[in-house]
Symmetry: C2
Subunit: 303 residues, 2 copies
Protein backbone atom coordinates (compact mmCIF):
# COMPACT_ATOMS: atom_id res chain seq x y z
CA UNK A 1 0.00 0.00 0.00
CA UNK A 2 1.05 3.58 -0.64
CA UNK A 3 0.06 6.93 0.79
CA UNK A 4 -0.11 10.13 -1.25
CA UNK A 5 -0.64 13.60 0.20
CA UNK A 6 -1.53 16.75 -1.75
CA UNK A 7 -0.62 19.81 0.32
CA UNK A 8 -2.79 22.51 -1.28
CA UNK A 9 -3.04 26.23 -0.54
CA UNK A 10 -6.10 25.72 1.68
CA UNK A 11 -6.80 21.95 1.86
CA UNK A 12 -4.58 18.94 2.35
CA UNK A 13 -5.88 15.78 0.75
CA UNK A 14 -4.47 12.31 1.44
CA UNK A 15 -5.19 8.92 -0.10
CA UNK A 16 -4.31 5.35 0.76
CA UNK A 17 -3.98 3.22 -2.37
CA UNK A 18 -3.44 -0.50 -2.74
CA UNK A 19 -0.86 -2.24 -4.90
CA UNK A 20 -3.06 -2.00 -8.01
CA UNK A 21 -3.68 1.73 -7.54
CA UNK A 22 -7.21 1.56 -6.13
CA UNK A 23 -8.00 4.31 -3.58
CA UNK A 24 -8.96 2.57 -0.34
CA UNK A 25 -9.37 5.62 1.88
CA UNK A 26 -9.31 9.38 1.41
CA UNK A 27 -9.21 12.27 3.90
CA UNK A 28 -9.22 16.04 3.59
CA UNK A 29 -8.31 18.67 6.18
CA UNK A 30 -7.18 22.29 6.37
CA UNK A 31 -3.55 22.99 5.47
CA UNK A 32 -1.54 24.72 8.16
CA UNK A 33 0.26 28.00 7.44
CA UNK A 34 3.99 28.30 8.03
CA UNK A 35 6.79 25.77 8.34
CA UNK A 36 5.69 23.97 11.54
CA UNK A 37 1.97 24.01 10.72
CA UNK A 38 2.50 22.56 7.22
CA UNK A 39 4.47 19.66 8.71
CA UNK A 40 1.78 19.20 11.38
CA UNK A 41 -1.18 19.15 8.97
CA UNK A 42 0.63 16.74 6.65
CA UNK A 43 1.35 14.37 9.54
CA UNK A 44 -2.28 14.73 10.69
CA UNK A 45 -3.53 13.75 7.21
CA UNK A 46 -1.42 10.57 7.25
CA UNK A 47 -2.65 9.76 10.77
CA UNK A 48 -6.30 10.34 9.82
CA UNK A 49 -5.86 7.73 7.08
CA UNK A 50 -5.17 5.29 9.90
CA UNK A 51 -1.40 5.76 10.02
CA UNK A 52 1.12 4.13 7.78
CA UNK A 53 1.52 0.55 9.02
CA UNK A 54 1.97 -1.69 5.99
CA UNK A 55 2.61 1.33 3.79
CA UNK A 56 5.64 1.00 1.49
CA UNK A 57 5.98 4.63 0.39
CA UNK A 58 4.63 8.03 1.36
CA UNK A 59 4.63 10.72 -1.31
CA UNK A 60 3.81 14.41 -0.95
CA UNK A 61 2.87 16.92 -3.65
CA UNK A 62 3.29 20.57 -2.68
CA UNK A 63 3.42 23.92 -4.50
CA UNK A 64 6.69 25.80 -4.84
CA UNK A 65 10.16 24.84 -5.93
CA UNK A 66 10.81 21.27 -4.86
CA UNK A 67 14.06 19.35 -4.96
CA UNK A 68 12.94 15.71 -5.02
CA UNK A 69 16.50 14.51 -4.35
CA UNK A 70 16.60 16.25 -0.94
CA UNK A 71 12.87 16.65 -0.22
CA UNK A 72 13.21 20.40 0.33
CA UNK A 73 10.54 22.95 -0.60
CA UNK A 74 11.20 26.64 -1.33
CA UNK A 75 9.10 29.67 -2.26
CA UNK A 76 5.71 28.11 -1.42
CA UNK A 77 4.37 31.58 -0.67
CA UNK A 78 0.70 30.62 -0.26
CA UNK A 79 1.71 28.15 2.47
CA UNK A 80 3.96 30.61 4.30
CA UNK A 81 6.92 28.38 3.42
CA UNK A 82 10.21 30.03 2.50
CA UNK A 83 12.55 27.04 2.78
CA UNK A 84 11.50 23.79 4.44
CA UNK A 85 13.26 20.45 4.72
CA UNK A 86 9.86 18.75 4.35
CA UNK A 87 11.00 15.25 3.37
CA UNK A 88 13.39 14.89 6.30
CA UNK A 89 10.96 16.49 8.78
CA UNK A 90 8.15 14.13 7.75
CA UNK A 91 10.46 11.11 7.67
CA UNK A 92 11.53 11.75 11.25
CA UNK A 93 7.93 12.29 12.42
CA UNK A 94 6.51 9.30 10.52
CA UNK A 95 9.47 6.93 10.61
CA UNK A 96 9.16 6.20 6.87
CA UNK A 97 10.86 7.28 3.69
CA UNK A 98 9.02 10.26 2.22
CA UNK A 99 9.15 11.44 -1.41
CA UNK A 100 8.37 15.06 -2.20
CA UNK A 101 7.43 16.51 -5.57
CA UNK A 102 6.00 19.68 -7.04
CA UNK A 103 2.18 19.50 -6.96
CA UNK A 104 1.69 19.92 -10.71
CA UNK A 105 4.16 17.12 -11.42
CA UNK A 106 2.42 14.92 -8.85
CA UNK A 107 -0.95 15.69 -10.47
CA UNK A 108 0.46 14.79 -13.91
CA UNK A 109 1.47 11.37 -12.60
CA UNK A 110 -1.91 11.03 -10.88
CA UNK A 111 -3.78 11.91 -14.09
CA UNK A 112 -1.76 9.30 -15.96
CA UNK A 113 -2.83 6.63 -13.47
CA UNK A 114 -6.40 7.88 -13.00
CA UNK A 115 -7.07 7.82 -16.75
CA UNK A 116 -5.44 4.40 -17.13
CA UNK A 117 -3.07 5.62 -19.84
CA UNK A 118 -0.99 2.69 -21.18
CA UNK A 119 2.63 2.75 -20.02
CA UNK A 120 3.86 3.18 -23.63
CA UNK A 121 1.99 6.48 -23.96
CA UNK A 122 2.65 10.03 -22.80
CA UNK A 123 0.58 12.89 -21.48
CA UNK A 124 0.90 16.49 -20.49
CA UNK A 125 -1.17 17.57 -17.52
CA UNK A 126 -2.12 21.22 -18.00
CA UNK A 127 -2.98 22.85 -14.69
CA UNK A 128 -5.23 25.88 -15.06
CA UNK A 129 -5.45 27.24 -11.52
CA UNK A 130 -4.10 30.32 -9.80
CA UNK A 131 -1.14 29.79 -12.10
CA UNK A 132 -0.65 27.95 -15.37
CA UNK A 133 1.88 25.13 -15.64
CA UNK A 134 2.14 21.66 -17.08
CA UNK A 135 3.57 18.37 -15.92
CA UNK A 136 4.87 15.76 -18.35
CA UNK A 137 4.59 12.01 -18.00
CA UNK A 138 6.55 10.39 -20.82
CA UNK A 139 5.88 6.68 -21.28
CA UNK A 140 4.73 6.40 -17.71
CA UNK A 141 7.59 8.33 -16.13
CA UNK A 142 7.54 11.84 -14.76
CA UNK A 143 9.78 14.09 -16.88
CA UNK A 144 11.26 16.89 -14.77
CA UNK A 145 13.95 17.98 -17.22
CA UNK A 146 17.50 18.97 -16.38
CA UNK A 147 16.62 21.34 -13.50
CA UNK A 148 12.97 20.65 -12.80
CA UNK A 149 11.75 23.39 -15.17
CA UNK A 150 10.00 21.06 -17.63
CA UNK A 151 6.37 22.12 -18.11
CA UNK A 152 6.85 25.72 -16.89
CA UNK A 153 4.98 26.86 -19.97
CA UNK A 154 3.14 29.65 -18.15
CA UNK A 155 6.24 31.73 -18.96
CA UNK A 156 5.96 31.23 -22.72
CA UNK A 157 5.11 34.55 -24.42
CA UNK A 158 2.68 34.42 -27.34
CA UNK A 159 1.54 38.01 -27.83
CA UNK A 160 3.64 41.18 -27.54
CA UNK A 161 0.36 43.12 -27.19
CA UNK A 162 -1.02 40.78 -24.52
CA UNK A 163 -1.54 41.32 -20.78
CA UNK A 164 1.56 41.65 -18.59
CA UNK A 165 2.80 38.99 -16.22
CA UNK A 166 4.19 39.75 -12.76
CA UNK A 167 7.60 40.47 -14.30
CA UNK A 168 6.03 42.94 -16.75
CA UNK A 169 6.48 40.65 -19.76
CA UNK A 170 3.58 40.70 -22.23
CA UNK A 171 1.40 37.85 -23.49
CA UNK A 172 2.57 35.00 -21.26
CA UNK A 173 0.30 31.96 -21.19
CA UNK A 174 -0.09 32.39 -17.42
CA UNK A 175 -1.05 36.06 -17.76
CA UNK A 176 -3.68 35.13 -20.36
CA UNK A 177 -5.11 31.90 -19.03
CA UNK A 178 -4.73 31.52 -15.26
CA UNK A 179 -6.79 32.68 -12.30
CA UNK A 180 -4.14 35.17 -11.18
CA UNK A 181 -3.60 36.47 -14.71
CA UNK A 182 -7.31 37.07 -15.22
CA UNK A 183 -7.69 38.62 -11.76
CA UNK A 184 -4.98 41.16 -12.68
CA UNK A 185 -6.84 42.03 -15.88
CA UNK A 186 -10.26 42.14 -14.18
CA UNK A 187 -9.44 43.74 -10.86
CA UNK A 188 -12.97 44.17 -9.50
CA UNK A 189 -12.31 42.31 -6.27
CA UNK A 190 -14.89 39.62 -7.07
CA UNK A 191 -13.92 36.33 -5.36
CA UNK A 192 -13.74 34.31 -8.60
CA UNK A 193 -12.41 36.58 -11.32
CA UNK A 194 -12.69 33.92 -14.03
CA UNK A 195 -16.40 33.32 -13.40
CA UNK A 196 -16.95 37.06 -13.16
CA UNK A 197 -15.23 37.65 -16.52
CA UNK A 198 -17.24 34.87 -18.18
CA UNK A 199 -20.48 36.35 -16.76
CA UNK A 200 -19.57 39.86 -17.90
CA UNK A 201 -18.57 38.57 -21.34
CA UNK A 202 -21.90 36.74 -21.64
CA UNK A 203 -23.58 40.05 -20.77
CA UNK A 204 -21.67 41.72 -23.61
CA UNK A 205 -18.99 43.72 -21.75
CA UNK A 206 -16.38 44.31 -24.49
CA UNK A 207 -13.36 44.24 -22.16
CA UNK A 208 -14.55 40.97 -20.63
CA UNK A 209 -15.07 39.57 -24.12
CA UNK A 210 -11.44 40.41 -24.93
CA UNK A 211 -10.14 38.83 -21.69
CA UNK A 212 -12.25 35.75 -22.41
CA UNK A 213 -10.90 35.52 -25.97
CA UNK A 214 -7.38 35.60 -24.59
CA UNK A 215 -8.25 32.89 -22.07
CA UNK A 216 -9.48 30.66 -24.92
CA UNK A 217 -6.45 31.56 -27.05
CA UNK A 218 -4.07 30.91 -24.14
CA UNK A 219 -5.47 27.46 -23.34
CA UNK A 220 -5.56 26.47 -27.02
CA UNK A 221 -1.99 27.74 -27.47
CA UNK A 222 -0.80 25.74 -24.45
CA UNK A 223 -2.21 22.59 -26.06
CA UNK A 224 -0.67 23.47 -29.43
CA UNK A 225 2.75 24.16 -27.90
CA UNK A 226 2.75 20.96 -25.83
CA UNK A 227 1.85 18.87 -28.88
CA UNK A 228 4.26 20.61 -31.29
CA UNK A 229 7.13 20.33 -28.81
CA UNK A 230 6.68 16.95 -27.10
CA UNK A 231 3.84 15.39 -29.18
CA UNK A 232 2.12 13.83 -26.17
CA UNK A 233 -0.77 11.46 -26.83
CA UNK A 234 -3.09 13.54 -24.66
CA UNK A 235 -3.26 16.89 -22.88
CA UNK A 236 -5.20 16.45 -19.66
CA UNK A 237 -6.67 19.68 -18.30
CA UNK A 238 -7.19 20.10 -14.57
CA UNK A 239 -7.05 22.78 -11.87
CA UNK A 240 -9.63 25.27 -10.64
CA UNK A 241 -10.46 26.76 -14.04
CA UNK A 242 -11.13 23.30 -15.48
CA UNK A 243 -14.24 23.18 -13.25
CA UNK A 244 -15.58 25.80 -15.66
CA UNK A 245 -14.87 23.51 -18.61
CA UNK A 246 -18.47 23.71 -19.88
CA UNK A 247 -17.95 27.48 -20.21
CA UNK A 248 -14.48 27.47 -21.77
CA UNK A 249 -13.98 24.24 -23.70
CA UNK A 250 -16.18 25.28 -26.60
CA UNK A 251 -14.24 28.54 -26.96
CA UNK A 252 -10.90 26.70 -26.85
CA UNK A 253 -12.10 24.24 -29.48
CA UNK A 254 -13.25 27.11 -31.65
CA UNK A 255 -9.71 28.58 -31.61
CA UNK A 256 -8.28 25.18 -32.54
CA UNK A 257 -10.86 24.73 -35.32
CA UNK A 258 -9.87 28.12 -36.75
CA UNK A 259 -6.22 27.06 -36.89
CA UNK A 260 -7.13 23.73 -38.44
CA UNK A 261 -9.18 25.41 -41.18
CA UNK A 262 -6.13 27.49 -42.10
CA UNK A 263 -3.52 24.74 -41.89
CA UNK A 264 -3.62 21.12 -43.11
CA UNK A 265 -0.64 20.41 -40.85
CA UNK A 266 -2.48 21.62 -37.75
CA UNK A 267 -5.52 19.59 -38.87
CA UNK A 268 -3.32 16.49 -39.01
CA UNK A 269 -2.32 16.98 -35.36
CA UNK A 270 -5.95 16.51 -34.20
CA UNK A 271 -5.32 18.84 -31.26
CA UNK A 272 -8.96 18.91 -30.12
CA UNK A 273 -9.26 15.17 -29.82
CA UNK A 274 -6.14 15.02 -27.63
CA UNK A 275 -7.75 17.16 -24.91
CA UNK A 276 -9.08 15.38 -21.82
CA UNK A 277 -10.79 17.09 -18.87
CA UNK A 278 -10.20 15.57 -15.43
CA UNK A 279 -13.35 14.41 -13.63
CA UNK A 280 -14.23 17.11 -11.06
CA UNK A 281 -12.93 16.53 -7.57
CA UNK A 282 -10.44 13.81 -8.57
CA UNK A 283 -7.73 13.59 -5.87
CA UNK A 284 -5.23 13.60 -8.70
CA UNK A 285 -2.22 15.20 -7.00
CA UNK A 286 -2.60 12.96 -3.94
CA UNK A 287 -2.95 9.91 -6.18
CA UNK A 288 0.14 10.94 -8.15
CA UNK A 289 2.08 11.56 -4.93
CA UNK A 290 1.33 7.97 -3.94
CA UNK A 291 2.92 6.84 -7.22
CA UNK A 292 6.12 8.89 -6.95
CA UNK A 293 9.21 6.89 -7.79
CA UNK A 294 12.37 7.17 -5.74
CA UNK A 295 14.28 10.28 -6.82
CA UNK A 296 17.32 9.84 -9.01
CA UNK A 297 20.29 12.13 -8.66
CA UNK A 298 19.85 15.31 -10.65
CA UNK A 299 21.56 15.23 -14.03
CA UNK A 300 23.99 18.09 -14.66
CA UNK A 301 24.35 20.51 -17.54
CA UNK A 302 26.61 19.74 -20.48
CA UNK A 303 29.95 21.21 -19.45
Amino acid sequence: MRIGVDVGGTKTEAVLVDGSGVVLRQVRLATGFGHEAVVDSTVAAVEQLGGHDGVSTIGVGIPGTVDPATGTVSHAINLGVDHLDLGARLASRLGSEVRVENDVNAAALGAFHLLGVPATQSIAYLNLGTGLAAGLVLRGELWRGSRGAAGEIGHILIDPAGPLDLDGQPGGLEAMASGSGIARQWATGEPNAVSAVLDAADAGDPRAVQIRSRLFEGVASAVRILVLTVDVDAVVIGGGISRLSDRILEGVESVIDGWARASPFITSLELGSRIRILPEGSPVAALGAAHLAAPTSSPRLVS
Copy 2:
Protein backbone atom coordinates in the same frame (compact mmCIF):
# COMPACT_ATOMS: atom_id res chain seq x y z
CA MET B 1 30.81 -0.54 -38.04
CA ARG B 2 27.82 1.53 -39.05
CA ILE B 3 26.94 3.62 -42.09
CA GLY B 4 24.90 6.80 -41.93
CA VAL B 5 23.59 8.70 -44.95
CA ASP B 6 22.18 12.23 -44.97
CA VAL B 7 20.05 12.72 -48.08
CA GLY B 8 19.97 16.51 -48.41
CA GLY B 9 18.16 18.74 -50.89
CA THR B 10 21.28 19.09 -53.05
CA LYS B 11 24.02 16.93 -51.48
CA THR B 12 24.05 13.42 -50.07
CA GLU B 13 26.64 12.87 -47.37
CA ALA B 14 27.61 9.44 -46.04
CA VAL B 15 29.87 8.38 -43.18
CA LEU B 16 31.37 5.10 -42.03
CA VAL B 17 31.79 5.02 -38.26
CA ASP B 18 33.43 2.45 -36.03
CA GLY B 19 31.98 0.88 -32.89
CA SER B 20 33.08 3.81 -30.72
CA GLY B 21 31.53 6.39 -33.04
CA VAL B 22 34.70 7.61 -34.76
CA VAL B 23 34.18 8.64 -38.41
CA LEU B 24 36.51 6.46 -40.51
CA ARG B 25 35.45 7.62 -43.96
CA GLN B 26 33.16 10.29 -45.40
CA VAL B 27 31.84 10.94 -48.92
CA ARG B 28 29.62 13.58 -50.49
CA LEU B 29 27.84 13.53 -53.84
CA ALA B 30 24.89 15.17 -55.59
CA THR B 31 21.42 13.98 -54.54
CA GLY B 32 19.27 12.67 -57.36
CA PHE B 33 15.83 14.15 -58.03
CA GLY B 34 12.76 11.94 -58.05
CA HIS B 35 12.05 8.51 -56.58
CA GLU B 36 14.49 6.40 -58.64
CA ALA B 37 17.30 8.96 -58.59
CA VAL B 38 17.13 9.40 -54.81
CA VAL B 39 17.46 5.63 -54.34
CA ASP B 40 20.34 5.57 -56.86
CA SER B 41 22.31 8.41 -55.27
CA THR B 42 21.86 6.90 -51.80
CA VAL B 43 23.14 3.51 -53.00
CA ALA B 44 26.03 5.27 -54.76
CA ALA B 45 27.01 7.04 -51.53
CA VAL B 46 27.15 3.73 -49.65
CA GLU B 47 29.19 2.17 -52.49
CA GLN B 48 31.62 5.10 -52.55
CA LEU B 49 32.30 4.46 -48.85
CA GLY B 50 33.63 1.09 -49.97
CA GLY B 51 30.35 -0.82 -49.68
CA HIS B 52 28.89 -2.25 -46.53
CA ASP B 53 30.83 -5.43 -45.80
CA GLY B 54 31.23 -5.70 -42.03
CA VAL B 55 28.62 -2.99 -41.49
CA SER B 56 25.99 -3.83 -38.86
CA THR B 57 23.45 -1.09 -39.63
CA ILE B 58 22.74 1.44 -42.35
CA GLY B 59 20.76 4.52 -41.37
CA VAL B 60 19.36 7.23 -43.61
CA GLY B 61 18.21 10.73 -42.68
CA ILE B 62 15.96 12.43 -45.23
CA PRO B 63 13.62 15.46 -45.27
CA GLY B 64 9.87 14.99 -45.34
CA THR B 65 7.46 12.89 -43.35
CA VAL B 66 9.16 9.65 -42.43
CA ASP B 67 7.63 6.56 -40.86
CA PRO B 68 10.60 4.83 -39.21
CA ALA B 69 8.56 1.68 -38.62
CA THR B 70 8.07 1.11 -42.36
CA GLY B 71 10.95 3.16 -43.81
CA THR B 72 8.62 5.18 -46.04
CA VAL B 73 9.15 8.84 -46.95
CA SER B 74 6.37 11.24 -48.01
CA HIS B 75 6.18 14.91 -49.03
CA ALA B 76 9.92 15.41 -49.56
CA ILE B 77 9.12 18.09 -52.12
CA ASN B 78 12.69 19.38 -52.63
CA LEU B 79 13.75 15.85 -53.58
CA GLY B 80 10.84 15.27 -55.98
CA VAL B 81 9.60 12.54 -53.64
CA ASP B 82 5.88 12.18 -53.09
CA HIS B 83 5.75 8.74 -51.49
CA LEU B 84 8.74 6.41 -51.50
CA ASP B 85 9.28 3.05 -49.83
CA LEU B 86 12.92 4.05 -49.25
CA GLY B 87 13.86 1.58 -46.52
CA ALA B 88 12.63 -1.45 -48.44
CA ARG B 89 14.10 -0.21 -51.75
CA LEU B 90 17.52 0.33 -50.19
CA ALA B 91 17.39 -2.93 -48.26
CA SER B 92 16.76 -4.88 -51.46
CA ARG B 93 19.55 -3.03 -53.34
CA LEU B 94 22.07 -3.25 -50.48
CA GLY B 95 21.09 -6.56 -48.92
CA SER B 96 21.10 -5.04 -45.40
CA GLU B 97 18.57 -3.74 -42.92
CA VAL B 98 18.10 -0.02 -43.42
CA ARG B 99 16.70 2.45 -40.87
CA VAL B 100 15.13 5.67 -42.09
CA GLU B 101 14.48 8.81 -40.06
CA ASN B 102 13.56 12.42 -40.60
CA ASP B 103 16.75 14.45 -41.22
CA VAL B 104 16.28 16.84 -38.30
CA ASN B 105 15.77 13.93 -35.91
CA ALA B 106 18.85 12.22 -37.34
CA ALA B 107 20.83 15.45 -36.88
CA ALA B 108 19.66 15.71 -33.27
CA LEU B 109 21.02 12.25 -32.55
CA GLY B 110 24.22 13.13 -34.42
CA ALA B 111 24.66 16.34 -32.42
CA PHE B 112 24.22 14.38 -29.20
CA HIS B 113 27.05 12.01 -30.21
CA LEU B 114 29.26 14.66 -31.83
CA LEU B 115 29.22 16.83 -28.69
CA GLY B 116 29.78 13.81 -26.44
CA VAL B 117 26.74 14.58 -24.30
CA PRO B 118 26.53 12.12 -21.37
CA ALA B 119 23.78 9.51 -21.79
CA THR B 120 21.94 10.86 -18.70
CA GLN B 121 21.48 14.27 -20.35
CA SER B 122 19.12 15.65 -22.96
CA ILE B 123 19.37 18.09 -25.84
CA ALA B 124 17.20 19.79 -28.39
CA TYR B 125 18.76 20.24 -31.82
CA LEU B 126 17.36 23.43 -33.34
CA ASN B 127 17.67 23.39 -37.11
CA LEU B 128 17.68 26.84 -38.66
CA GLY B 129 17.68 26.14 -42.38
CA THR B 130 15.12 26.58 -45.14
CA GLY B 131 12.65 25.65 -42.42
CA LEU B 132 12.78 25.74 -38.63
CA ALA B 133 12.30 22.58 -36.60
CA ALA B 134 13.84 20.83 -33.63
CA GLY B 135 14.77 17.27 -32.77
CA LEU B 136 14.81 16.01 -29.19
CA VAL B 137 17.24 13.52 -27.71
CA LEU B 138 16.13 12.71 -24.17
CA ARG B 139 18.71 10.85 -22.08
CA GLY B 140 20.39 9.59 -25.22
CA GLU B 141 17.26 8.45 -27.03
CA LEU B 142 15.52 10.13 -29.92
CA TRP B 143 12.09 11.36 -28.80
CA ARG B 144 9.65 11.36 -31.73
CA GLY B 145 6.44 11.71 -29.72
CA SER B 146 3.17 9.92 -30.33
CA ARG B 147 3.00 10.60 -34.09
CA GLY B 148 6.45 11.88 -34.98
CA ALA B 149 5.46 15.53 -34.48
CA ALA B 150 7.79 16.22 -31.53
CA GLY B 151 10.01 19.22 -32.25
CA GLU B 152 7.77 20.72 -34.96
CA ILE B 153 8.10 24.05 -33.20
CA GLY B 154 8.28 26.06 -36.43
CA HIS B 155 4.47 26.05 -36.25
CA ILE B 156 4.36 27.71 -32.81
CA LEU B 157 2.86 31.22 -33.12
CA ILE B 158 4.39 33.94 -30.95
CA ASP B 159 3.18 37.21 -32.48
CA PRO B 160 -0.28 37.96 -33.91
CA ALA B 161 1.30 40.94 -35.73
CA GLY B 162 4.18 38.88 -37.11
CA PRO B 163 4.93 37.71 -40.66
CA LEU B 164 2.62 35.09 -42.18
CA ASP B 165 3.55 31.46 -42.68
CA LEU B 166 2.59 29.49 -45.79
CA ASP B 167 -0.83 28.77 -44.24
CA GLY B 168 -1.41 32.48 -43.63
CA GLN B 169 -0.96 32.19 -39.86
CA PRO B 170 0.94 35.09 -38.24
CA GLY B 171 4.09 35.06 -36.14
CA GLY B 172 5.16 31.43 -36.48
CA LEU B 173 8.74 30.69 -35.43
CA GLU B 174 9.44 29.36 -38.93
CA ALA B 175 8.05 32.50 -40.59
CA MET B 176 10.26 34.65 -38.36
CA ALA B 177 13.49 32.70 -38.15
CA SER B 178 14.02 30.39 -41.14
CA GLY B 179 15.52 30.89 -44.60
CA SER B 180 12.16 30.47 -46.31
CA GLY B 181 10.37 32.74 -43.84
CA ILE B 182 12.93 35.50 -44.30
CA ALA B 183 12.93 35.06 -48.10
CA ARG B 184 9.15 35.64 -48.09
CA GLN B 185 9.61 38.83 -46.08
CA TRP B 186 12.59 40.05 -48.17
CA ALA B 187 11.56 39.01 -51.66
CA THR B 188 14.38 40.64 -53.62
CA GLY B 189 15.43 37.46 -55.38
CA GLU B 190 18.90 37.55 -53.81
CA PRO B 191 20.30 34.00 -53.51
CA ASN B 192 20.77 34.14 -49.71
CA ALA B 193 17.95 36.21 -48.27
CA VAL B 194 19.24 35.93 -44.71
CA SER B 195 22.67 37.35 -45.56
CA ALA B 196 21.00 40.02 -47.70
CA VAL B 197 18.74 41.06 -44.82
CA LEU B 198 21.66 41.18 -42.39
CA ASP B 199 23.65 43.33 -44.87
CA ALA B 200 20.72 45.68 -45.44
CA ALA B 201 20.07 45.94 -41.70
CA ASP B 202 23.75 46.77 -41.10
CA ALA B 203 23.33 49.50 -43.75
CA GLY B 204 20.38 50.87 -41.81
CA ASP B 205 17.39 49.75 -43.92
CA PRO B 206 14.50 49.99 -41.43
CA ARG B 207 12.52 47.07 -42.87
CA ALA B 208 15.60 44.86 -42.80
CA VAL B 209 16.23 45.94 -39.22
CA GLN B 210 12.70 44.79 -38.33
CA ILE B 211 13.11 41.44 -40.11
CA ARG B 212 16.45 40.96 -38.35
CA SER B 213 14.89 41.77 -34.96
CA ARG B 214 12.26 39.14 -35.59
CA LEU B 215 14.93 36.62 -36.56
CA PHE B 216 16.71 37.24 -33.24
CA GLU B 217 13.41 37.15 -31.36
CA GLY B 218 12.34 33.94 -33.12
CA VAL B 219 15.58 32.07 -32.36
CA ALA B 220 15.60 33.25 -28.74
CA SER B 221 11.93 32.26 -28.37
CA ALA B 222 12.62 28.81 -29.79
CA VAL B 223 15.30 28.31 -27.11
CA ARG B 224 13.00 29.66 -24.39
CA ILE B 225 10.10 27.41 -25.47
CA LEU B 226 12.29 24.28 -25.68
CA VAL B 227 13.69 24.92 -22.19
CA LEU B 228 10.35 25.85 -20.58
CA THR B 229 8.64 22.83 -22.08
CA VAL B 230 11.22 20.02 -21.98
CA ASP B 231 14.02 21.62 -19.91
CA VAL B 232 16.80 20.13 -22.01
CA ASP B 233 20.39 20.53 -20.79
CA ALA B 234 21.41 22.18 -24.06
CA VAL B 235 19.91 23.60 -27.25
CA VAL B 236 22.28 22.86 -30.12
CA ILE B 237 21.83 25.16 -33.10
CA GLY B 238 22.65 23.93 -36.59
CA GLY B 239 21.45 24.30 -40.19
CA GLY B 240 22.29 26.83 -42.88
CA ILE B 241 21.55 29.93 -40.82
CA SER B 242 23.82 28.73 -38.03
CA ARG B 243 26.76 29.34 -40.40
CA LEU B 244 25.94 33.00 -39.84
CA SER B 245 26.19 32.53 -36.08
CA ASP B 246 28.73 35.32 -35.69
CA ARG B 247 26.12 37.67 -37.15
CA ILE B 248 23.08 36.46 -35.25
CA LEU B 249 24.20 34.97 -31.93
CA GLU B 250 24.88 38.35 -30.32
CA GLY B 251 21.39 39.55 -31.28
CA VAL B 252 19.80 36.38 -29.91
CA GLU B 253 21.74 36.73 -26.65
CA SER B 254 20.64 40.33 -26.39
CA VAL B 255 16.97 39.26 -26.55
CA ILE B 256 17.60 36.65 -23.84
CA ASP B 257 19.47 39.18 -21.68
CA GLY B 258 16.49 41.55 -21.94
CA TRP B 259 14.15 38.83 -20.69
CA ALA B 260 16.53 37.91 -17.89
CA ARG B 261 16.75 41.53 -16.72
CA ALA B 262 12.95 41.61 -16.41
CA SER B 263 12.47 38.20 -14.81
CA PRO B 264 14.41 36.46 -12.02
CA PHE B 265 12.80 33.18 -13.11
CA ILE B 266 14.10 33.54 -16.68
CA THR B 267 17.51 34.47 -15.24
CA SER B 268 17.50 31.24 -13.24
CA LEU B 269 17.02 29.21 -16.44
CA GLU B 270 20.40 30.40 -17.82
CA LEU B 271 19.07 30.15 -21.37
CA GLY B 272 22.12 31.74 -22.99
CA SER B 273 24.56 29.30 -21.46
CA ARG B 274 22.52 26.34 -22.74
CA ILE B 275 23.04 27.34 -26.39
CA ARG B 276 25.64 25.43 -28.40
CA ILE B 277 26.52 26.09 -32.04
CA LEU B 278 27.51 23.07 -34.13
CA PRO B 279 30.99 23.24 -35.64
CA GLU B 280 30.59 24.29 -39.28
CA GLY B 281 30.45 21.45 -41.78
CA SER B 282 29.85 18.72 -39.20
CA PRO B 283 28.26 15.71 -40.95
CA VAL B 284 25.80 15.66 -38.10
CA ALA B 285 22.74 14.17 -39.83
CA ALA B 286 24.83 11.40 -41.42
CA LEU B 287 26.48 10.70 -38.07
CA GLY B 288 23.09 10.55 -36.37
CA ALA B 289 21.71 8.29 -39.10
CA ALA B 290 24.54 5.88 -38.33
CA HIS B 291 23.36 5.81 -34.71
CA LEU B 292 19.67 5.19 -35.38
CA ALA B 293 18.19 2.52 -33.18
CA ALA B 294 15.84 -0.10 -34.55
CA PRO B 295 12.33 1.36 -34.82
CA THR B 296 9.77 0.37 -32.23
CA SER B 297 6.15 -0.01 -33.19
CA SER B 298 4.32 3.32 -33.17
CA PRO B 299 2.46 3.96 -29.93
CA ARG B 300 -1.24 4.76 -30.36
CA LEU B 301 -3.39 7.57 -29.00
CA VAL B 302 -5.26 7.22 -25.74
CA SER B 303 -8.62 5.78 -26.75
